[in-house]
Each structure stands twice: as C-alpha cells, then as structure tokens.
C-alpha cells in the first residue's frame, strides 16, 4: 500500500518535473556570447556658475562579450542634441569637436571582473570598466565603475564618469565658451543589450 503511494507520487513528481525543467530551460536560457546594444543613451552635463549645459544622444551602438568582458562603444557625434541650436552648432564646429572630420567617438575596453556577473541570474552587479576613449584624434585611458543589471533575461549596462575636456585637446582660452563650459563634464551611459 505504502509502496503504491510512493510510486504514484514519484510518477506525479516526474510528470511535474519534466515540464518544469523545460520551462526553466526556455525561460532562463542564459544570455551568453556577444551582446549588442542598438538602444542606448549617452547624456553629458556641464555645470558652471554661469550656465548648465546638457546634451543627449540616442544613436549609440555598443557590444559586450559576456565570456571575456570585452566592451566597445561607438558614438555618432552629430546625434548629440542640445537645447539651443547655437550650442549644438558650436559643439559640432571645427573649434570644438570637428564632427565632420571626426563623426564618431569610440570606447574600446573591458569589464575586468566580468566573471562576477551571472548572466543567467537576475541581479545587480557592480563592475569595473577599463579601456581607451578616442575623441577627435586623441586616445586616453578611462577607468570607471559600472552596473550590469539582469532582469528577466534582459541585460542593461550603465555607468557615470567625468571627462576632462582639455585631455582631448578641447580647450577654450577666451570668450564665452571658456567661462560657460565646465573644464570637467559628467558623462552618463545607459545601454540595453540583446543577443546578437
């Protein structure tokens, strides 16, 4: 009698177990390999006592290799939008970012502690990012902290860091820009990744 009950329970358990395993395999299929983001946002903010200036870019492309942590960004510079048309024109012009000659800024680097991120488990993971940023003709190292958020199989990456304009040969000696643009600007990055 008792054996019969145990057997029935085992059968029932396996009946439930098989679909459960299938569902979990489908639902929690880990995102792995090369991830691509074509839905990202970069914002920069410059604060001086005279003026606050901000610009937004929604045409950023990024890739993240989950096995190695390789991380790259490509930023079309003419896609930065400012509140004032004149500021946008100055930003693009030859004196500033010369976007006709240098249409894209690049970041090529790595998440050095990528092994701490479990891409198959929901969570918020603090990561270390290191790499090289190229703006106009100048390449400089960038080290920053970032956050990888895994939620329902979706991967989001975000970071915030400061950038010293003069390091990239963007300097103003006189006139309005020298007083109205901060020497150091804050850059915020937010990217949603999908499997390639």
């Amino acid at each position: 009698m008792l054996n019969q009950i145990i057997n029935t329970m085992k059968k029932l358990a396996s009946l439930f177990l098989i679909p459960a395993v299938i569902i979990s395999l489908v639902a929690f299929r880990p995102v792995a390999g090369k991830l691509v983001s074509k839905n990202a946002h970069i914002n920069f903010f410059s604060h001086t006592s005279v003026e606050d200036i901000t610009a937004n870019n929604y045409k950023v492309v990024s890739t993240l290799e989950t096995s190695t942590g390789d991380l790259a960004f490509s930023v079309p510079m003419q896609s930065f939008e400012f509140e004032k048309a004149l500021m946008q024109e100055h930003f693009n012009s030859g004196n500033f970012l010369d976007t006709k000659k240098f249409p894209k800024a690049k970041f090529d680097g790595k998440i050095t502690n990528i092994s701490t991120v479990n891409f198959s488990q929901d969570g918020v993971y603090e990561v270390d990012v290191t790499g090289n940023m190229t703006i106009k003709e100048t390449t400089k190292p960038v080290n920053t902290k970032g956050t990888i958020t895994i939620k329902g199989g979706k991967v989001n990456g975000s970071t915030k860091f400061n950038l010293v304009l003069a390091e990239y040969g963007i300097a103003f000696k006189k006139g309005k820009p020298s007083t109205n643009i901060a020497k150091e600007i804050e850059v915020k990055v937010n990217a949603d990744y999908l499997s390639e």
Binding site: H41, K59, S74, P76, F91, N92, K100
Partner: protein, 159 residues
C-alpha cells in the same frame, strides 16, 4: 547749431545700431533648431546605394553629406523596412535594410512624427525623409557593421 545736430544724429545712429546688434545677439543665442521636415531635400537615394557609397569611400561620403556645424544634408531614403523598434527616448526607430546588405539605414523619428511610424510594418517599401548624422561602416572594436544614422525622420510620399 550744426555741431549739435551732428551729435544728435550720431547718438541716434549709435543707439539704433546698439539695439539692432543686441537684438541679433539675442536672436542668434535663442535661434530655434532647424525644422528638418520643412527643409528642402538635398539628396534622394535608396538605402542599399547609400550604404554602398559609405562602404566604398567613407571620407568622400562624409565630405558630401556632413556639415561642419552639424546641419548635415536632408535625405530622402527609400528602402525595405527591416525592423520597427523604440529607443530610450520613446522615439520610433525604423531600419531600412535589404537582407543581402551588410548594413542598413537606421531612421529615428521624433515626438512630432512618431504617430506616422506606428503604421509602418516590416517588409514594406517606404521613403523616409530626415537629417543624416553619420555613415555606415565596419567597426573593428564592435566587430560589426554600423548603420547609416538618420534622425528627425518622417515618412514621405514620393512625387
């Protein structure tokens, strides 16, 4: 008497001049963004040709399409709709791309034009007008082909 008159006229000219200069400065500082949809089309192309032009000679293409102050050429691009998505600013993004092409033309709509993107379906042939921001090309760091970027887009009917 004559000297007084000269001074008077001189003063008036100076004040009027100063006011005009001030008005121009204020206008320039606050001038609105270019209204892309109400600006004439500079170039008509189909998505495949535009991508091919960039892949064969990006420097020449940038010279042709990009403007030094960011007021780059207004394009009318015809192509097959590959995908319709939304960006983080809630703007529709329509990718015009032929299956056989390495890259496409990624057209971002705006708050003002979003409603016309809602009716677009995948596979459709359409013409999109917008401003070009950057070209297509292979990026070694990303290890993929980037699309041509068009913004302030709207669907137009070709004449």
């Amino acid at each position: 008497m004559k000297a007084k008159k000269i001074v008077k006229v001189g003063l008036i000219v100076f004040v009027v001049g100063a006011l005009a200069a001030g008005a121009i400065v204020i206008y320039l500082f606050n001038k609105p963004h270019r209204d892309v949809q109400n600006t004439d089309i500079d170039f008509k192309s189909n998505a495949s040709d535009l991508v091919a032009e960039y892949l064969s000679d990006p420097t020449k293409a940038n010279e042709k399409y990009l403007d030094e102050e960011g007021n780059s050429k207004i394009m009318a691009v015809t192509g097959k709709v590959h995908s319709v998505t939304k960006d983080m600013n809630n703007q529709f993004v329509v990718l015009l791309k032929e299956e056989s092409d390495k890259a496409g033309v990624s057209c971002t709509f705006s708050a003002a034009t979003n409603s016309s993107a809602e009716k677009i379906s995948v596979g459709q042939m359409i013409t999109i007008k917008g401003v070009i921001r950057s070209g297509a090309g292979y990026d070694a760091d990303l290890d993929l082909y980037e699309d041509v970027v068009i913004e302030k887009s709207d669907v137009i009917t070709e004449n």
